[in-house]
């Protein structure tokens, strides 16, 4: 394959991946009246920053909801996943080899198969329509992946270190808090980034479990805005940028860990 062909492929692919980005930015920066279907691709004649201000005002409460929900659910599921991973990597109890695949299966199920009882359950324990209900759900269904990532990560810690800890008189919790946890920082980074992205981007649970607009996360609000009749496209485009920004920044600055989580999601650790 010649060099020319190689760069031609790269050029076409880059165009394919970046054209939507160009269109979003250009549309978000046009005056509503200047957005017509035939001039989609043209640069704005007047740079109109107002859309971002409007989107910011409209979406700020939803962004706050998403942040609240994502941060708490991420931290809780990371903490539980770390403890579970520690047990499954270093203190295998009888039957652990059967329990683990049964846990993993929860990562792959279509949530439509649990949605009806889940909806009733969350309502019955009094968390229906609240962010706390959504947090609970994200923590529970996040357990398989966080456990998996930590288990694979802790498997790399040599058993001799655990053994040395035991000889020095440390027990289950002592070894965790003095040896395993301090070594966990990279594991936590991967899990937190992965869970942050997943929970921030999630839609199905959010749209079914949270009905009141006051508690909506950003994905639900954006879908409603863009799906409405006779939309002014500058606003959904600015909103899409706002909704995308946190995970995009995470990816740009911590891409290495993001990809590691991505590959862990396909089970191979």
């Amino acid at each position: 394959m010649g060099r020319v062909l190689q760069y031609a492929v790269l050029f076409v692919a880059t165009l394919f991946f970046l054209l939507p980005v160009y269109l979003v930015i250009v549309t978000a920066l046009k005056e509503p009246s200047a957005i017509t279907l035939s001039s989609t691709w043209q640069l704005p004649k007047v740079w109109y920053w107002e859309s971002f201000a409007q989107a910011w005002i409209a979406f700020l409460p939803k962004l706050q909801n998403s942040f609240f929900l994502t941060v708490i659910a991420t931290l809780l599921s990371a903490m539980l996943g770390s403890l579970n991973g520690y047990v499954l990597a270093k203190w295998k109890f009888p039957g652990a080899n059967i329990v683990f695949p049964l846990m993993l299966f929860g990562m792959f199920i279509p949530y439509q198969a649990v949605l009806i009882p889940l909806f009733q359950f969350v309502r019955e324990i009094g968390l229906g329509g609240t962010l706390w209900g959504l947090i609970l759900v994200h923590v529970v269904y996040g357990l398989p992946i966080t456990t998996l990532i930590f288990r694979n990560y802790y498997a790399e810690i040599p058993d001799e270190m655990i053994e040395a800890g035991r000889i020095d008189g440390a027990g289950f919790f002592g070894i965790y808090s003095r040896i395993v946890f301090p070594l966990s920082v990279p594991g936590f980074v991967v899990v937190i980034i992965w869970q942050f992205t997943q929970i921030w981007n999630e839609f199905l649970f959010a749209v079914t479990l949270v009905s009141s607009p006051a508690n909506q996360p950003i994905t639900v609000a954006l879908a409603q805005l863009a799906g409405g009749e006779a939309v002014k496209w500058n606003l959904p485009m600015a909103g899409a940028l706002l909704a995308a920004l946190p995970t995009l920044l995470v990816y740009i600055f911590l891409g290495r860990y993001f990809i590691r989580g991505l590959l862990a999601g396909s089970v191979k650790g």
Binding site: M1, Q6, V9, L10, A13, F17, L18, P20, L23, V24, T36, S38, L83, N84, W91, K92, F93, P94, F100, L102, M103, F105, G106, F108, I109, P110, Q112, A113, V114, L115, I116, P117, V137, V140, T147, G171, F172, N201, F203, L204, V207, T219, L222, A223, A226, G227, M237, A240, A243, A244, T247, L248, V250, Y251, G255, L262, L263, S266, V267, K268
Partner: protein
């Protein structure tokens, strides 16, 4: 409790126990409850659906029978066909684009890191964001259809998300026959592979099953008609745009997988092949592609289970109510939470679970088996 080796193992069990109980309830308990709900008539009587104490009757597999053979549920059957075509093209698209990009990047062009970042960034976005953006890209009078005008060509006329055109139509009544044919072809391939590998017993069993299945297909299978009338289902062209957006979002993932695989192939292997006089194409065909086969398989399974579950992308791109781009995952939501046909929604959820489990369970099994061996 001497069943546990020591106190620490017991602590370990106690620490993990709450998670196990939670997952037991939220995954297996709820699946069981959904299954039970799917065997009832909850929601048939609209007055009962939303009442505090609905009168629910057990009706067996009636909901499933209706979904597959009932007159009113033609939309569900079209949705199954939609999922099939979406899955096939989505996987082919992601594998093709991903492999192509990985091969190009593997040859270390200038700015490799930059290109990799560009090709992977859509993965970090929400399907809702992707859907919103592509909805605007695919407006019938604008976006992609306007692209040709930039180089002086007439604008495109394709009705991206709203097209009602359907190609490759097949009657639902031919499905048992076609399924039997496809399965026997697969069995024949298994038989050939077995004979080549010297596993004669396996080969005979596969050949025998294929022959039996073909016999059934051409006799009873031909007369087995789920519906009293012909009902045509095919590939809705409105899906092309959604497939495009999905490939845009996910092909970076296959690129990352393939690139990791390519980087794992030792340079000596390529050199040896070149010294032996292999052309570049032969090198790929004989050495590199076979080595990438396991990656292709895992990518197919991961992408396959994503595509069977796809919901948010279609919701954001075409809206929940656009019938030509409906899929079972979306129909379940509409049936349950909009139409309050709760039992029927549960049945659709169970069918989805079976589809996904058929893909995932063998995969998990083989992954964990190979892990134990390691």
């Amino acid at each position: 409790m001497n069943w546990f080796r020591n106190k620490d193992t017991l602590y370990g069990f106690l620490v993990i126990l709450p998670s196990l109980i939670l997952l037991g309830i939220f995954v297996y308990g709820f699946i069981f409850q959904t299954f039970y709900t799917s065997l009832t008539d909850w929601g048939r009587d609209p007055a009962q659906a939303l009442s505090a104490n609905p009168q629910i009757r057990f009706i067996g597999f009636e909901n499933y029978r209706e979904l597959f053979t009932g007159f009113v549920d033609a939309r569900f059957r079209q949705d199954l066909v939609n999922t099939f075509f979406f899955t096939v093209f989505f996987i082919l698209g992601c594998l093709g684009v991903g492999l192509g990009l990985a091969i190009v990047l593997d040859r270390s062009p200038k700015g490799e890191g930059f290109f990799r970042t560009i090709f992977l960034f859509p993965m970090s976005l929400s399907f809702i964001v992707t859907g919103t953006i592509w909805r605007w890209m695919l407006q019938p009078q604008g976006g992609v259809n306007q692209l040709p005008t930039l180089v002086g060509l007439p604008k495109g006329e394709f009705a991206w998300l709203t097209s009602r055109e359907q190609i490759w139509q097949v009657s639902w009544n031919d499905l048992p026959f076609i399924t039997a044919l496809v399965v026997s072809v697969v069995l024949v391939f298994i038989a050939i592979a077995a004979f080549r590998g010297g596993e004669r017993r396996r080969g005979y069993i596969a050949t025998g099953s294929a022959a039996l299945l073909l016999l059934w297909a051409f006799t009873l299978g031909r007369t087995l008609q789920p519906l009293p009338f012909d009902e045509l289902h095919g590939f809705n062209l409105a899906f092309i745009g959604i497939i495009l957006a999905a490939v845009w979002q996910m092909s970076g993932y296959t690129m990352a997988l393939y690139l990791a695989g390519l980087r794992g192939i030792p340079e000596e292997l390529r050199e040896a092949a070149r010294v032996d006089g292999a052309s570049e194409w032969q090198l790929y065909q004989r050495i590199i592609f076979p080595l990438l086969a396991p990656i292709t398989l895992s990518a197919m399974i991961i992408l396959g289970h994503i595509s069977l579950k796809i919901f948010d992308l279609i919701f954001a791109m075409a809206g929940a109510d656009n019938a030509p781009t409906d899929v079972p995952a979306l129909l379940m939501y509409l049936t349950t939470f909009r139409a309050n046909q709760i039992a029927k929604g549960a049945a659709i959820g169970m069918i989805l679970l079976l589809l996904v489990a058929a893909v995932i369970v063998p995969y998990l099994y083989s992954q964990l088996k190979s892990e134990v061996r390691r």
